[in-house]
């Protein structure tokens, strides 16, 4: 099974703020991915896509061509892109398609999300009284983690410094200005211990991937990248998630723990086999905690790893090589696919100014979001 699904084309509309609609960015990314794959829309025989706030992906057929292909809309919060990819992976493995597209795009308003309590299954009182902010959850999760495992504020800041540095080298990134540790620490305190520059912003952008059966991949692409696993998990009992008015004292694992373990098992590889890693960095603390949740270190080891530069582009384990969510922003539907796009770019050696200097043969991606979902992939040449 391991050779069965290949990524033959990758396309991205730069992230940031743009005049065009989310759907137009999606179509742009789709055309770029097909050009990269050397295929036409008529070659694509299944598509999955979604956005959180920019419309139904399947209406894109009127732009790309009414070929009659099955196009399924995917809506799965922050894992929308990851879920589209898993659906495409499964469709190819099931023999339902030879060439498949996974696409994600989005366009969000400025500032923190303003969620609706009812659609998240919580009482109106929760929103009324000022508890319904994702930023508070992130602040409280890392606050407790720092207390338990001895992570310093300097380390929190260094994650942001690294990601903005990586973003400054990436022409598709949104935030391209490098920041110093002092600038990060001295920026506005949004939700203690997290400052403004430790948070990513909701943004805009699109990513499309063309996948194909492994045995036909080289007909399209001289440098196919293989998707060794693609896994999604929802939250187990006892995980700590956004918009929880209560937690059990009987603490459990994050959904990322199960998703990452399953992705490695399916791929027949482990965390120590990975050359580069993309993890969800909604804020600096998330990257730190996800390093451990995904199995790349023990709780608390991040302090030395990050302080010593091990996760920098030239380090032992480069993390968020394109600048992550911090430098790219978070268009929800596209975010998980951006990580796979970046991994494919690095595996092909095509990342240009932000190419990791060491040889790259394997890559891992991890997306995480509300209401407690995680999607992971393992990729290799």
């Amino acid at each position: 099974m391991a050779e069965d699904v290949a990524i033959i084309g990758i396309g991205m509309h730069p992230f940031g703020r743009h005049e065009n609609t989310g759907m137009e960015m999606g179509a742009y990314a789709a055309r770029a991915a097909m050009k990269d794959a050397g295929c036409d829309w008529s070659d694509v025989n299944y598509a999955f896509g979604g956005s959180a706030s920019a419309g139904n992906a399947d209406s894109m057929v009127s732009t790309l061509g009414l070929t009659g292909l099955p196009f399924i809309n995917v809506a799965n919060g922050c894992a929308t892109g990851g879920s589209a990819l898993i659906s495409a992976y499964n469709a190819i493995n099931a023999g339902a398609a030879d060439v498949c597209m996974a696409i994600g795009f989005d366009k969000h308003e400025k500032g923190a999300f303003a969620p609706d309590p009812a659609s998240h299954g919580v009482g109106q009182w929760y929103g009324d009284t000022g508890l319904m902010l994702t930023t508070q959850f992130f602040g409280m999760k890392i606050q407790r983690y720092m207390h338990q495992f001895g992570i310093s504020e300097s380390t929190l800041a260094k994650v942001a410094v690294k990601n903005f540095h990586n973003g400054s080298l990436n022409e598709n990134a949104w935030r391209r200005k490098p920041l110093t540790e002092e600038e990060v620490l001295n920026s506005l305190m949004l939700s203690n211990p997290l400052t403004q520059y430790m948070f990513c912003s909701p943004g805009e952008g699109a990513v499309a991937l063309v996948l194909a059966r492994g045995d036909i991949a080289k007909k399209f692409q001289t440098k196919p990248v293989y998707l060794r696993s693609a896994v999604l998990r929802s939250r187990p009992f006892g995980s700590f998630e956004v918009f929880n008015s209560w937690l059990s004292p009987d603490r459990g694992n994050s959904p990322s723990v199960g998703a990452a373990a399953a992705a490695f098992k399916m791929a027949g590889m482990g965390p120590s086999d990975m050359d580069i890693v993309q993890v969800q960095d909604t804020e600096s603390g998330a990257e730190i905690m996800h390093m451990a949740e995904c199995g790349f270190c023990e709780d608390g080891e991040q302090e030395d790893l990050i302080q010593s530069g091990a996760t920098n582009l030239d380090g032992r384990l480069p993390i968020n090589t394109d600048g992550g969510c911090l430098a790219n922003g978070e268009p929800i539907g596209a975010s998980g696919l951006r990580q796979v796009y970046e991994s494919a770019l690095q595996l092909r050696g095509d990342a240009g100014t932000h190419q990791v200097p060491k040889p790259i043969k394997t890559a891992f991606t991890h997306v995480y979001g509300a209401p407690g979902i995680s999607a992971c992939t393992v990729l290799s040449n």
């Binding site: 109106q124 319904m132 409280m140 203690n192």
Partner: protein
Amino acid sequence: MTTQIPVAEELFTWPSDSPQLIGTRFPESGVTTFPQSKSCPKSGSENGERVLLPRIGTLWSWTVQGFLPKSPPYAGKETAKTFKPYGVGYIQLGNEVIVESRLTTAEASELKIGMDMELVVIPYSTDDDGNELITYAFAPVKK
């Protein structure tokens, strides 16, 4: 005289001199939810019992809301100019449940994980008739 109106019925006992949060305990799984819940998220059981939660607990984690939340859903009437940051935390009530709550202090120097906290009731907004809208919060226990 203004009336105090709780943000929701059955969230905490009111009126009361010593209000308590109201949860649901599921005897089969040992899980206690807050607020009340029809089914247990661990076992799926629908055999829950209404339970009054302890008024005193310990701070499990905390943050400070540093910017004015978007309305909706936030029902506070501050503007960006009048907004004052407020504390938010999780308070562990014995071994029963950890509840999320506003805190009465927004001073980072006054908040330490593990410190004792007690339940109080605070205003969070007013309605069009000038009534005070109230919710529960936790305050550091005075030594």
